[in-house]
Symmetry: C2
Subunit: 582 residues, 2 copies
């Protein structure tokens, strides 16, 4: 194998250009090995193999610095920078992350999990270089749908002010995660169709120099282009036309399905194992489809991740103009939802907890100050959600619940979730966010409330005494378990409470608990810092009641084991009982 000789970009540079195509084929074998066995970002990486080889062939990493946007397209970069074991050695898959990671290699400069950040981060590297009087090349590699994100557009707009070496490679594979959305993609198309010659040019309109590479999977064209811009003295865009999923027929044909893929059989493309049962995603999709059919004013918005609520291509078609994918543009989505609600529509915007972070100001200013009745559906907001450092869903309670006017709800089972969602869509008093439950679907036979307009009324599910357990959302079942264990150990039944509302205290109930309780336990599925339990502790601060808050420490976790994290944070009935002196 040629790859046997490649342990760093230095080794790559020794190869004659003619061998590089064979190298690309070998790299795809490594990608296929890893991806078919443990899953990962398939399409983006298969599409950018040649461009990455050409970049490392021409530039001198790590003196010259690459910043990959959505760093999930960095697999070939990892293979070429001493980490091929992560693709070829099955026992070492977990030694590397799915994103660039400075802890792994000096060739990686940032840990990047969110899109649209590369141009701004790389502008910073360029400015740092200029302040030091150094001369290295700084190269941002953006694309795969990231261009529509506000941060990327701010960065593109600013870049021309640098007036020094700065190279932006636009990897144009004509796709986001799902199909691309937004007017700028029509300009990319016009540029592709004119061989880069269209006078109307987004990048030139942003004040940037521009060159075009028609076949972005042809290594020698790419090498030629990169040589042309190497050591350039001003910012330039290199627009390369690549094929997402290149080299694997199923991925070339069905680009959305193969953007990220779970383990599969390389021969047939068929997923291995997988889950076809009931899910919150699938149920949400079905509910919303029915709702939209019955009411033409209901509209569902997503920002490039329709899958978080199960909207596959066929379902999107079924919903028609009542389904809007704004592309990677979360800020726009929240503001637009506010506007829709203001003008008679019933909008639901769904995305992952980690991506709601991109919309703090829009939730506060565009939505909550204006009090418009939009519904935000927060997916994967849980320690059980995505577990890499760039996509954690454990910070949304402090992030969102302290914004005035927002009603943030935490359902504990399927029936309550659906009742809350339906109530939220139909009411027109409040901006509402709902923490979609995470994990297997839990059903209840008990009656759930259908009206949540009397805010901050907690639900006492077991009347007891001595100890009261206030167990929020996904951790309600831990509260149930804890209650049973306490009763078994002490003979006294504790009170169990499903608070339902994250954004406010049921002060009447909390007052009442004082009469026959001495200890309060709170449980929440997220970091404690700034969250729900601390508010309960503050409420009881001046009183005799003792409060024990359970949740996660404020820290960045990466590729964690849930059980370890739960134990480290003592979110285990036995450990809690120890703390309570039982």
């Amino acid at each position: 194998m040629i790859l046997d000789k490649i342990n760093s970009p230095e080794d790559l540079k020794k190869l004659p250009i003619e061998e590089l195509d064979d190298l690309a084929a070998e790299i795809r074998q490594g990608l296929m090995n890893r991806l078919s066995k443990i899953g990962g970002h398939f399409g983006p990486n298969f599409g950018i193999v040649e461009a990455t080889i050409a970049l490392h062939y021409v530039f001198n990493s790590p003196v010259d610095k690459f910043v990959f946007d959505v760093s999930h397209q960095c697999y070939t970069h990892k293979i070429l920078t001493g980490r091929k074991y992560g693709y070829f050695d099955d026992s070492r898959f977990n030694d590397i992350s799915g994103y660039t990671n400075p802890d792994e290699s000096v060739h990686d400069f940032f840990n990047i999990g969110h899109t649209s950040t590369s141009v701004s981060l790389a502008c910073g590297l360029a400015k740092g270089r200029d302040l030091r009087g150094a001369k290295e090349n700084i190269i941002a590699i953006i694309g795969d749908g990231s261009l529509s994100g506000g941060e990327a557009l701010e960065g593109l707009d600013f870049a021309s002010e640098l007036k020094s070496n700065f190279i932006i490679v636009v990897n144009d594979n004509d796709m986001s995660i799902a199909e691309n959305h937004g007017g700028l993609y029509s300009n990319l198309r016009a540029l592709r169709e004119s061989g880069g010659k269209s006078e109307c040019n987004l990048f030139k309109a942003m004040g940037l120099d521009y060159i075009y590479v028609n076949d972005g999977n042809d290594i020698s064209s790419l090498i030629q282009a990169f040589n042309k811009v190497k050591d350039i003295d001003h910012p330039v865009v290199v627009h390369i036309n690549t094929q997402k999923g290149k080299g694997y027929k199923y991925a070339e044909t069905n680009r959305e399905e193969w953007h990220w893929h779970s383990p599969f059989d390389p021969e047939t493309g068929a997923p291995k194992g997988g889950y076809n049962g009931e899910s919150y995603e699938g149920n949400t999709c079905q509910y919303l489809l029915d709702k939209m059919k019955k009411d033409e004013k209901v509209v569902t918005l997503v920002a490039a991740v329709p899958v978080v609520i199960g909207f596959t291509e066929d379902k999107r078609k079924e919903a028609g103009s009542q389904f809007v994918d704004v592309g990677i543009a979360e800020e726009h989505a929240v503001a637009m939802a506010s506007g829709i609600a203001k003008n008679g529509g019933k909008p639901i915007f769904a995305t992952n907890s980690t991506f709601f972070q991109r919309t703090y100001d829009q939730i506060s200013q565009d939505l909550c100050i204006n009090g418009n009745a939009a519904t935000l559906l927060n997916c994967n907001a849980s320690v059980y959600g995505l577990n890499d450092v760039g996509h954690l869903g454990i910070y949304d309670i402090p992030m969102m619940s302290n914004i005035p006017n927002l009603v943030y709800l935490a359902p504990v089972n399927y029936e309550e979730y659906m009742a809350m969602l339906d109530w939220s869509i139909e009411q027109n008093q409040y901006p509402v966010a709902i923490r979609m439950p995470c994990g297997p679907v839990k059903h209840t036979d008990e009656q759930v409330d259908t009206d949540y307009s009397s805010l901050n009324k907690y639900k006492v599910t077991k009347e007891g005494s001595g100890i009261a357990i206030i167990a929020l959302g996904n951790f309600y079942n831990i509260g149930e378990d804890l209650a049973a264990k306490i009763e078994a150990a002490t003979g006294v039944e504790p009170t169990l409470i499903n608070p339902r509302y994250i954004t406010g205290l049921d002060t009447e109930l909390l007052e009442k608990l004082k009469t026959n309780h001495t200890k309060i336990v709170t449980l929440e599925d997220g970091i404690l810092s700034g969250g729900f339990g601390e508010k309960i502790a503050s409420f009881y601060g001046p009183s005799e009641i003792k409060v024990f808050n359970y949740g996660l420490k404020k820290e960045f976790l990466d590729r964690y084991n849930v059980e370890d994290v739960m134990r480290d944070n003592r979110i285990v009935p036995e450990l809690i009982m120890e703390d309570l002196g039982l």
Copy 2:
């Protein structure tokens, strides 16, 4: 006066076009009356008088809907929609806000204080209209520097997907608050210079239709253009070339100074009263200028509000390439700061607390996950800061202090502030944010620490017993006052603590306090919810210690009186003593 007849847009439509120039002159009298007496956004409003008259002459508000971006350019709109009293009747200045406000009028659809939101909000109104099957015109009026904001660019990119009536008026006055920054403004210039005919066109590159009005202060040209796009069946940009500050010579000449202006003498333009003494802004500017001269690796970043750290035009020139105004692009600024720190620079990014809200995700992902040693300087983060609902500075503690890895510091006086700032710039371990003190400069004779790298070490400034007061940042002086009053009343000196670190607990000290204290009082200048005091309450939750948290309620305030707010929240030594049973 013609205005005597104008109580609504209906009345305006009855006027012959020939009278509209006289009307514009009368409106400028009203603007001058209000602005010279109570201050406000001068340049943006003087520049957009004619365009606003033309909009109301052509369209049918409130059925047709206007969304003003940075709604501080809405004064003429207010005069024409029944609120002229706010400009001509000195006794009623305070009856209206400086922004659009749905509580004031059915002609206002959103309360908008942050820039770059109009296109997305208006996209929502358009989608809501389409869902209802209605036909009104939806018009976003953007400009005055707002175009460079990520949300605006996301909105522009999305707008073409609407495929129905949508009109974006780009008010191009060639200025942001300070001069414009970003490559797109070179395209606006090319469009102005070519009479709108340049083939390279940002708006067309975003997939939008486009028309140009060369004299954006000429009412009949504007009326003609707006008539052309009225009832259009697809999205279109109307690019109008206006003059910021039009009609007042000082404002036409010195556009930055007159963007917002304090009360002044209309004859001479000279500010009335005003403050020329020592200020945190001025001192920060001087410190940073000195620092940058001594160290070429230090760089100061702002996002269109250089004034928050006193960088007037002359100071910016003095700093040269070590001062970077990224324009209205806060997301970019934080990511760029992270990149600068990564590549050997020492970046400081300063903006208002309210605008840091626009960068939650960048602080978390681009900066803190990567642990780069950038300094964020948080200005006007206080109940004593800006007091309109769109610019409140009381939410940053919950917003920022719960992000892992960030070190957030709250200095209590000038010397401590400068020591923290200097330490932060020179260290390379942590991303650091500093809450710049608000209000008059306070000095101390006492020694302040110069090294803050041992995190979360609170400073005991008075050793006492019984009650401990932990008084954060701007409220430290209330803590001092409270301590003195408690000692006077009880004869026992309380312990007084300057915690300095917002982002962590000094658990060793807090443990130690248990030995000879029974009550802890916390004081913080911001909302309690998700903030500092609740963490102290949670720490002591399982113990015998009683905790009393003081800070602001979680709510949106608008044009408040500080004393009322302090009293409502019982942040008054006498009321706190009452709560403590003293």
